[in-house]
């Protein structure tokens, strides 16, 4: 009898504790490096009582991780907007966003609308924008001032001192640089195959120029900093952080247009802490918090007024790389249709194998 009583009390206690922990949740955040800096997490935890666990990752890994667990293990993820509708169609790993729980006035309206449109699947909206940026060229102007577009990476003057990734942005960038429009051909498989064939030929021809295909952000920064590589296709933030150490190196928006991406907030299908997730979204989109994230990640956010609190040095670098006409020329990634990546994968494999 006594035993039953104590176990009953234990159960009751567990129930009470469960109820309190429903208010103060643990937010398991799957994000990119720099998007959830320590100081922001501390402020958030102090204000809301929720705790935050950060896992750093990249686009492909986020989708692969969520696919492996059927959309579990995390409460909030931040893939790019072009990786949402396609991944949802294939693997069913996200749940729709409840926009009534989000303060839409915190967002830059045009960016919010664009992301809503791009992340709609079966009439439901799955993502809201957070951080945006571009990929283009990082050039050491003292040694490779002639590099102004992706195709210039294949020029003899920089032979053996060039690096880019063997991933889909490279295919897209080279296609634009060759005067083709891959985004227009996204939904026409035959036309897209034609474009890929031309790009494949070019990349194989260009291969002797390449020192190595880089994999991670730190790797390419090391190569550029040591001078082993003088021109590379990479992200804008990488160029700006190198610019702080060496004024010769900076990010250049290519003539054919930098490629623009927007990283979003999505809810994994089996996430458990939705309240904390919505609280986090509304918290980090406040202008002063967004500025803290920009200072940490180097990229600007979709927060209305979030660019005001940003360090002047970063603003100056941004304006140098992006004169107004270069901003208008940014090519924003549309949603990747399912099946496209299989075609691209085969091309990338063949380029890698070519001699």
């Amino acid at each position: 009898m006594k035993k039953i009583l104590t176990s009953g009390i234990a159960l009751l206690a567990a129930g009470v504790m469960g109820a309190t922990s429903a208010q103060a949740e643990t937010l398991r955040l799957l994000t990119w490096g720099g998007y959830a800096p320590e100081n922001v997490i501390e402020l958030f935890e102090a204000e809301t009582g929720h705790t935050v666990e950060v896992t750093k990752s990249n686009n492909e890994e986020m989708v692969a991780k969520l696919r492996a667990t059927n959309g579990g293990g995390f409460d909030l993820a931040q893939p790019s907007q072009d990786r949402i509708a396609g991944a949802q169609a294939e693997f069913d790993i996200y749940k729709p966003i409840d926009l009534s729980k989000i303060d839409e006035s915190l967002f830059i309206p045009s960016m919010l609308e664009a992301t809503k449109g791009n992340t709609t699947y079966n009439g439901e909206i799955y993502g809201v924008p957070h951080v945006w940026g571009t990929s283009g060229l990082i050039v050491n102007k003292a040694e490779a001032s002639g590099v102004t577009d992706y195709l210039d990476l294949c020029d003899d003057s920089v032979a053996g001192k060039v690096s880019y990734r063997l991933k889909r942005p490279t295919l897209i960038g080279f296609a634009f640089s060759m005067g083709l429009d891959p985004f227009a051909a996204y939904n026409d498989e035959e036309a897209y195959k034609d474009i890929l064939a031309k790009v494949e030929e070019k990349l194989i021809e260009c291969k002797p120029n390449v020192k190595t295909y880089w994999g991670g952000g730190d790797e390419i920064k090391n190569l550029l900093r040591s001078g082993e590589v003088v021109a590379a296709m990479a992200w804008d933030t990488g160029g700006w952080s190198l610019n702080a150490d060496n004024p010769d190196i900076t990010f250049v928006a290519p003539e054919s247009g930098a490629l623009g991406w927007i990283d979003t907030f999505v809810l994994p299908k089996r996430g458990r802490a939705d309240e904390a997730a919505y609280a986090w979204i509304n918290f980090v989109m406040q202008p002063e918090i967004a500025a803290m994230i920009t200072n940490s990640a180097g990229n600007f956010t979709a927060s209305q007024g979030g660019d005001e609190g940003v360090e002047d040095a970063l603003k100056a670098r941004y304006q140098e790389s992006f004169p107004p006409e270069a901003v208008d020329n940014i090519k924003w990634y549309p949603t990747v249709p399912a099946n496209l990546e299989t075609l691209e994968g085969a091309v990338l494999d063949r380029v890698k194998a070519a001699n």
């Binding site: 492909e60 390449v210 020192k211 295909y213 040591s226 001078g227 082993e228 299989t342 494999d349």
Partner: protein, 287 residues
């Protein structure tokens, strides 16, 4: 009563092993096999078939990569044996007591840090602005920086270095068990260094050689970090292909099929190696 007890304790002792075998090896492999035989036909649509395996045989790229991986792993194994044998012989036969322990420990020390750190160490040595290149320029042998990284030789260096210990340990053990008087007898009977090596030392060390070779070959074939980091743009390695299929292409079906083919083909190569050397698994690894 007693026999029931001893049987129970036998089962209990056996349980961790059985759990390990079932949960970590058999069940994942069954699932992976099921994934590998489902062929994607459309969005969220799959049929059962061998299409993924056919891709491997019809696309020469995958075949070539596998052949290249196997060839380079065999070469790395052979090189490791060539370098490891004298080292092991020296440790086992020519040193005693403290020196022996110290030398053995020195083989072990690099393995106290992770493989990633060891590979980065090689990158620091070999890169264009690295230590070797700078040293060659300093002593005047080279006029400009030399790139040692990002080629097959760099991969080979990394593989041999990574697996050296796994060759030296079994060799030292088998060579230790060789009675010195047998070697002396060989010389007394008029043999020279080469005949003694061929007729006495190598036959005795054969189980150690084969078990070392099997372990090193498997480690090289399944290595991911070293070829990717040191090989650069030409680093085609089969495990890298599998990683790409799983993580960057979201194509688990093809990745699983590749995984099974790797298991199958590597087992075949090990089996062929055992047959060629006239050894058996029980005689080498099982000792």
């Amino acid at each position: 009563m007693n026999s029931v007890h001893s049987r129970l304790s036998l089962y209990l002792l056996f349980t961790p092993f059985l759990l390990w075998l079932a949960l970590l090896i058999i069940i994942p492999h069954i699932f992976m096999f099921l994934v590998s035989i489902s062929v994607k036909t459309g969005v969220r649509e799959y049929v059962t078939g061998l299409g993924n395996y056919m891709v491997f045989f019809t696309e020469p790229l995958y075949w070539n990569t596998f052949a290249r991986t196997a060839f380079m792993s065999v070469s790395a194994t052979f090189l490791t044996l060539l370098i490891g044998f004298p080292v092991a012989y020296y440790i086992a036969k020519l040193t005693r007591g403290r020196t022996k322990t110290t030398l053995f420990l020195m083989c072990l020390i690099p393995f106290w840090v992770s493989e990633l750190v060891r590979t980065f160490g090689w990158m620091i040595l070999l890169r264009e602005t690295g230590i070797f290149s700078s040293f060659l320029q300093y002593i005047g042998l080279a006029s400009e920086p030399i790139e040692f990284l990002y080629n097959d030789a760099a991969i080979m260096v990394g593989l041999v270095y990574t697996s050296m210990l796994f060759m030296v340990v079994p060799l030292v053990t088998t060579l230790d068990s060789l009675d010195d008087s047998l070697i002396e007898a060989g010389y007394d009977l008029g043999g020279n260094g080469i005949t003694v090596l061929r007729e006495i030392i190598i036959p005795h060390a054969m189980p150690g050689i084969v078990s070392g070779c099997i372990v090193v070959f498997m480690l090289s074939l399944g290595n991911y970090l070293t070829p990717i980091l040191l090989g650069g743009k030409d680093s085609l390695w089969f495990t890298g292909l599998i990683y790409d299929q799983f993580i960057t292409r979201f194509n688990w079906e093809l990745g699983s099929a590749f995984g099974f083919l790797l298991l199958l083909l590597s087992s075949t190569i090990v089996w062929a190696g055992l047959k060629l050397s006239g050894q058996s698994l029980t005689n080498t690894v099982g000792r």
